[in-house]
């Protein structure tokens, strides 16, 4: 009798534990899922794609420590250390807690030649090989932290005022941002000097965003995933051999779009009643 009571108690407590664990697991998973849902975040150079980065980062902060303690971070006028570029996400930053990120308007990435933040990463979340050039040297110009985007309505260069602050702040001067000359039809005798960002060169360091003179920056860095479109395989530059190659590699059934509507002949579709 006592034996069966014990067994019942054991079954009940096991069931209880399993049930509570399931409950906890659901709450916990939900929390983690929400905590990672902060897509517009700029990571250090060499960071893996955001999803892998969140897997890999062990939140040790060594990148941020290397960043703030680099020799070039001494203010020449005061001789004191400036705040580092990389911050470790705190509660209230609305980014996954403990992961490094930067806000270019506060402190942009100064694109150090020796990239002190990357080799110290112990986990591989900051991928050093991705920053090596053909000579196997660290090359900060290979970084793709983000891509600068110009909002032309608030950019005063588009108003016709002369401003080239972002163009001059860019560490890849005239490569990542170039100035496009355009006639100012309003006055008839002036030129626009319009900043144009080139995504194949821009590293997303944010020095332009920091330099921008408008109250809220008219040029700002977004993660590449959000600031870039994709033409897809339907459109090919017929005049570009390389682009033709890209299109040549596609598979036919991948580019054919099959929808319910495309199964019918175009005439059938035109003769049907309009459905909204």
């Amino acid at each position: 009798m006592a034996h069966s009571n014990n067994r019942r108690k054991f079954m009940a407590t096991t069931l209880q534990s399993v049930g509570l664990t399931a409950l906890g697991g659901m709450l916990w998973s939900g929390y983690c899922d929400e905590a990672t849902a902060s897509p517009l975040v700029l990571r250090p150079p060499g960071a893996l794609p955001e999803k892998d980065f969140l897997d890999a980062c062990i939140k040790c902060g060594m990148c941020a420590e290397a960043c703030v303690n680099r020799e070039s971070n001494i203010d020449k006028e005061t001789g004191k250390q400036r705040p580092g570029t990389l911050q470790m996400a705190k509660g209230g930053d609305h980014r996954l807690i403990g992961t490094p990120f930067f806000k270019p308007r506060e402190v942009p990435c100064y694109m150090c030649d020796d990239i002190p933040c990357v080799p110290v990463c112990p986990s591989g979340a900051l991928d050093m090989p991705s920053l090596l050039n053909e000579k196997k040297e660290l090359d900060i110009n290979k970084a793709t932290m983000g891509l600068a985007v110009v909002h032309k309505e608030s950019c005063i260069a588009f108003w016709g005022l002369q401003c080239d602050a972002c163009y001059r702040a860019c560490p890849l001067l005239d490569e990542a941002i170039s100035l496009q000359y355009q006639k100012n039809e309003r006055t008839g005798k002036h030129a626009f000097l319009l900043p144009v960002v080139h995504s194949d060169v821009c590293t997303g360091c944010g020095l332009c965003e920091k330099a921008c003179v408008t109250e809220k920056p008219a040029i700002f860095v977004l993660p590449r995933e959000y600031s870039m479109g994709r033409a897809g395989d339907h459109y090919v530059k017929g005049w570009d051999k390389k682009d033709q190659q890209r299109a040549g590699e596609r598979k036919l059934d991948e580019i054919e779009t099959h929808t319910k509507r495309s199964e019918k002949a175009p005439a059938d579709y035109l003769n049907r009643e309009i459905e909204y």
């Binding site: 534990s17 664990t21 899922d33 999803k51 897997d55 040790c60 902060g61 420590e65 911050q87």
Partner: protein, 274 residues
Amino acid sequence: MKNLKYLLLRRITQIGLLVLYFGANAYGWTLLKGTFGSSLLFGVIPLADPYTTLQVLATGFVLGTDVLLGALIITLFYMIVGGRAFCSWVCPINMVTDLANWLRRKLNLDREEVNYRFLKRRARYWIMVLGLIVSAIVGIAAFEALSPITIMQRGIIFGFGAGISVVIAIFLFDLFGVKNGWCGHLCPLGATYSLIGKASLVRVKHDHEACTNCMECKIVCPENQVLHMINKESISVTDGECTNCGRCIDVCNDDALEFGIRSFTNSKSTKEKK
């Protein structure tokens, strides 16, 4: 007057480590860099938290060798030498929960009728396993997304922000909720170290002959189920949940408790006793 030797030693160790970590960021010291997740000692020796490492591995990411080696070093240290000493000698949350525990006693919150007992001490092992499962499902180190330990440590090194609320929450939970609620019931890191340190060498030893059964040690012990031998047997405290904090040694007025090396001949009788 009560002896505070081990309490002071622990505070010196805990605060000293935090000072080193803080200095690595603020002044560029190279003695001990990083955080508990992963650190670098003397600029060469990698150290890493075993449970954090397991969580990252559970997400499916193949970690760098530095972290794996670091986790191995830490695991071996506590496995062979320290036992669960991380919890009482290193972890900054220990200072918070110790304060809560001390206040509980001062405010008479320890009496049975006001002590909530809805939590089981083994809950932490479930949470430990759950943390790995959730890490695998969600694809991030799940406990690290809310761990008060690293939030407090990063808070001290890089600034707290709203993260301080997590630390306050733990304090309130331990003070007004469950006695030793966080460290003794919930923390999966403590659970991990309990398992790792199960067979470690440094142990508290009890001298049954000297004991006067005053029970001071049981009152002060944060895991007092491990002190089942008090005034019964002269053996070592061999339970992995003992944090080697030494508070029992400090409060004992009879010299019936002292640190020593585990004696393997006695370990058998302990098991039988259980």
